[in-house]
């Protein structure tokens, strides 16, 4: 993979930025067409199908539209952001109550135009994707289960004052750690 490809934002992230900045409906349709079928697969793993899945997908995609101004491509990819939103929607439906979520960091600058952190984060995204692709089918299934876990079963069992830049560099460090853990899995 060449450096130029690595530094390019994913299509999904570009569409989400267009939704955020231009309220662009065509880009929203592209996001929907990409994520709806994948969210349906994710939900099916928790035995959530049919109309119940439709409702969660619609709820999640409407939140993507309405909360787009909170999306910061220097901190998350579009997929990470949609994953979080869809998970929260699903859990709120299962528990019929809002899930405890961390307090938001006080945003000290509007989330945009931090090109350097967007590019490094995107390079991390590519590397993580490569680490995922290099796993055997069995190992990949372990990872998929860890992140797409069966919710129906698993149910049994102040502002910190730090500038955003600190969080961003820590996310990169945490991602590197995570990637190396994934590599360790491969060498087992």
């Amino acid at each position: 993979m060449d450096t130029e490809a690595e530094s390019r934002l994913s299509d999904q992230t570009i569409w989400l930025i267009a939704v955020r900045d231009q309220r662009d409906r065509a880009s929203f349709v592209r996001l929907f067409e990409f994520y709806a079928p994948r969210l349906r697969s994710m939900l099916a793993r928790s035995n959530c199908t049919g109309a119940a899945a439709d409702d969660i997908i619609q709820d999640a995609m409407l939140k993507v539209w309405h909360k787009a101004e909170q999306f910061d491509p220097g901190r998350a990819t579009a997929s990470a952001w949609v994953y979080r939103i869809a998970r929260n929607c699903h859990i709120d439906v299962i528990r019929r109550t809002s899930r405890p979520i961390p307090e938001a960091l006080k945003v000290e600058e509007p989330p945009d135009h931090d090109a350097a952190s967007q590019i490094t984060l995107n390079q991390e995204a590519q590397k993580l994707r490569q680490a995922l692709d290099s796993l055997s089918a069995d190992q990949r299934e372990v990872i998929v289960q860890a992140y797409m876990g069966d919710l129906s079963h698993s149910e049994i069992s102040d502002n910190t004052g730090l500038p955003l830049g600190t969080i961003k560099s820590r996310i990169r460090l945490a991602l590197e750690k995570l990637r190396h853990e994934m590599k360790d899995l491969r060498s087992q």
């Binding site: 409906r25 929203f28 349709v29 929907f32 067409e33 709806a36 079928p37 994948r38 969210l39 349906r40 697969s41 994710m42 099916a44 439709d54 619609q58 995609m61 409407l62 939140k63 309405h66 998350a76 990819t77 579009a78 997929s79 990470a80 952001w81 994953y83 979080r84 998970r87 699903h90 809002s98 899930r99 405890p100 979520i101 961390p102 307090e103 993580l128 994707r129 995922l132 990872i143 998929v144 860890a146 992140y147 797409m148 876990g149 069966d150 919710l151 698993s154 149910e155 049994i156 069992s157 102040d158 502002n159 910190t160 004052g161 969080i167 820590r170 996310i171 945490a174 991602l175 995570l178």
Partner: protein, 213 residues
Amino acid sequence: MNDITHHIPPRLIRAYASGSLPKSFSLVVAAHVSMCDECRARLEAEEFAGGAVLDTLAPASSDNYELLARTLAALDTPPLAEPQTHGAAGIYPAPIMQALKGRPPRWRPLGGGIRQTILDSDSEGSVRLLYIPPGSAVPDHGHNGLELTLVLQGSFHDETGSFGVGDVEVADADLDHTPMAGEGMPCICLAATDARLRFHSFVPRLLQPIFRI
């Protein structure tokens, strides 16, 4: 905030990100992440990985056309007002204030000067605030499952180490311990369990059903 030394174990952060952590522990994770940038970064990294896995899922072959039309038709409808949210207050980060519904804790005496406020309790586990006077001990106990304790004010120590504001102790079935509050401020912590505690002394055992520990 920078001297947090006991963090949420990564596997629990991943379980929170993927939605598979029981509700009682989710509150401890959300509260600790509100106080700890390191675990916030780890959580965002886990969500990043979740997004990468989502990308690789085989798309379900269902026809989404009608759902897309319905969703597009709803774009211009203003979203329903979010349920009222409560921000951080004093020593309590926002997720705890949310669980308290914005009100100060209503402490109930547990004996020995120790007080508690149950935030949530069901068949899967419970989560409560504990108030322990300086120098007092929580009776010696073991755990049937997992116990997470997040310090919000003061400190405590036990056989495994000492825990200050922001620190989380992770205790499992192997640990028998007698947490003792440090001197100075009373120790206030958020404690979650997924199973009942086992007290070793006779009196707390009698109290157990009454106080739902």
